[in-house]
């Protein structure tokens, strides 16, 4: 592109050299052409070559037209016509034209005028070319400007990506040291309190035994919290593999799995029709398992426990709900439900670390959906999550071949 533009520029410059010369030079060139042509005509006549004045003068006019432009070409025609009349038509050395030579002279003038008109045409073409060149230059300039802008944006993007990568790495190394370094002292607390109990069991009274047991219990609990936190952070970092997911099948699988651990319980399951949505199957399974396990856990004291799972179809999103008749919660704390390690019940009432709903929220957000909950104390709770039914535009582009 750049090269051809330059070539065009050079070409135009050679055509337009006249434009860079002053008027005096151009008119001078015209006069000199005609004078040289006259000289040549006289010389040829001296050597007895007849009737060549006309072509020679026409050549002079053509030269002036070609190289010097419209004005000089008109001057050349005038000068040539006058000198032709003066020197080469009878009566010689007078500006009068004999009737016999009148057509001859007239043809010369017309011929000269035609040649001169080529100059005008040429000028128009030249104008057009110059205009095109200017346009092209502007366009090239604009394109360069745009390219610069794109390059700048790309650089910015690359910088952001590097930053993101760095902070991701940092997060990963943080998770790594949590996983490795925090576990070791925990193991020592458990191990040595166990050894203490074994070693000093005779010298410890009931209180002492209880203290040691509490130490061990707390350390075990901390181990659970660390594991949950690591699993939670892995969900944020893991790559998602999104496909069409049959929610009906997913929910019945999850329910079947959880039902195995509900022996002795009386649970009335009510599962409505569920659509196909778009997402990462294993992550969505985690969402369903978390919500259904919660429903099972918080309906422990109900006989029968009622758990309903269903969906509300929207335009682009589908909203799935899990409803139970369990312990419920006070709506004024609804915003705390999805926080990491947030619990609304005492550990003696319901076990758990408080990571489940945080995990649910994180997964649903990663799918571009939303979570919410409704409930009342002792009157059950309903948890909703929405999911996209089809991949969004960016994902469609990414998955297209």
């Amino acid at each position: 592109m750049e090269l051809s533009a330059d070539a065009f520029h050079e070409n135009a410059a050679s055509i337009l050299w006249r434009g860079r010369h002053s008027a005096i030079l151009r008119y001078g060139f015209s006069v000199v052409s005609v004078a040289v042509a006259l000289g040549l005509a006289f010389a040829l006549r001296y050597y007895d070559v007849r009737d060549v004045e006309l072509p020679v003068l026409t050549v002079a006019i053509a030269l002036a037209t070609w190289y010097a432009g419209v004005g000089p070409s008109v001057l050349a025609v005038l000068l040539a016509a006058l000198s032709f009349d003066y020197f080469f038509t009878e009566p010689f050395y007078s500006l009068t034209v004999s009737p016999r030579d009148l057509p001859y002279f007239f043809i010369f003038v017309v011929w000269a005028a035609i040649v001169a008109s080529f100059g005008a045409v040429r000028r128009r073409i030249e104008e057009g070319l110059r205009h095109a060149r200017d346009n092209l230059q502007v366009e090239v300039e604009q394109r360069r400007h745009r390219e610069d802008e794109i390059r700048k944006l790309n650089q910015e993007l690359a910088r952001r990506a590097t930053e993101l990568e760095a902070s991701n790495k940092e997060l990963e190394s943080f998770a790594y040291s949590v996983s490795h370094d925090l576990r070791a002292p925990l193991r020592h607390i458990v191990g040595f309190s166990e050894l203490l109990q074994k070693h000093a069991s005779s010298s410890l009274d009931d209180k002492g035994h209880r203290y040691v047991r509490t130490i061990r219990e707390s350390a075990r609990k901390m181990g659970e919290l660390i594991d949950d936190l690591l699993a939670f952070s892995r969900i944020g970092r893991a790559e998602t593999r999104k496909t069409a997911v049959n929610l009906q099948q997913l929910v019945s699988e999850a329910v079947a799995e959880i039902e195995q651990e509900t022996q002795g319980r009386e649970i009335a399951w009510k599962i409505g029709t569920l659509p196909v949505c778009y997402g990462d199957r294993s992550l969505l399974r985690l969402v369903v398992v978390n919500l259904v396990s919660n429903a099972v856990k918080f309906t422990r004291m109900r006989r029968p426990a009622e758990i309903a799972i269903g969906s509300v179809d929207g335009e682009n999103l589908v909203e799935v709900f899990v409803r139970d008749n369990g312990a419920g919660f006070d709506m004024q704390y609804a915003n705390k439900l999805f926080g990491v390690f947030q619990r609304l019940h005492l550990p003696e009432q319901f076990e758990g670390t408080g990571i489940g709903l945080a995990t649910v929220e994180r997964i649903v957000h990663r799918h571009g959906g939303r979570v919410r909950a409704e409930g009342a104390v002792d009157r059950g709770a309903t948890f909703y999550f929405s999911l996209p039914k089809v991949p969004d535009a960016a994902e469609r582009r990414a998955s297209a071949p």
Partner: protein
């Protein structure tokens, strides 16, 4: 239980060393244990150099290797051992707190013989160490000519 192979434990944490020894002691496996406190010491032992110049030759029956070690890391030790003709037959068991997938993949690709995550629970920990000790030092047949008993 008369012919026990030697167990090389590479572990920097003295508490972990004590717990491991306690676990092995419960099953009379603690006699032939050699402790290396970092990767450098472990390699010195394996190559009979430095402070281990005078030790009787022969490879240990098993090496229990922690990954996070001062000076030379566990993975480096593993790489060195598995790339040395004389040492590559030593069974290496990674015994670590890390259950990161990255560490496991790296260890297995370097040719580790087993990967055990130290359980937080003391009983589980004792059981794990005991089973490792019994399996590798008693049940498992080491490569012929490699181990001195």
């Amino acid at each position: 239980m008369t012919t026990l192979g030697r167990i090389l434990i590479v572990e920097d944490d003295p508490n972990d060393v004590e717990l491991t020894l306690t676990a092995l002691d419960d099953y009379n496996l603690a006699n032939e244990v050699v402790i290396a406190r970092d990767g450098q010491q472990a390699l010195d032992y394996l190559y009979c150099r430095g402070e281990f110049k005078a030790r009787s030759t022969g490879n240990p029956a098993v090496m229990l290797l922690d990954l996070k070690l001062p000076k030379v890391g566990g993975l480096e030790v593993l790489q060195q051992v598995k790339s040395d003709e004389r040492l590559k037959t030593i069974p290496v068991v990674v015994l670590t707190s890390s259950n990161e997938e990255k560490d496991m993949m790296r260890s297995y690709s370097l040719g580790v013989n087993a990967y055990v995550v130290k359980p937080v629970d003391f009983h589980e920990f004792v059981n794990a160490v005991k089973e490792l000790g019994v399996f590798w030092a008693v049940i498992n047949e080491p490569p012929p000519g490699s181990v001195t008993r």
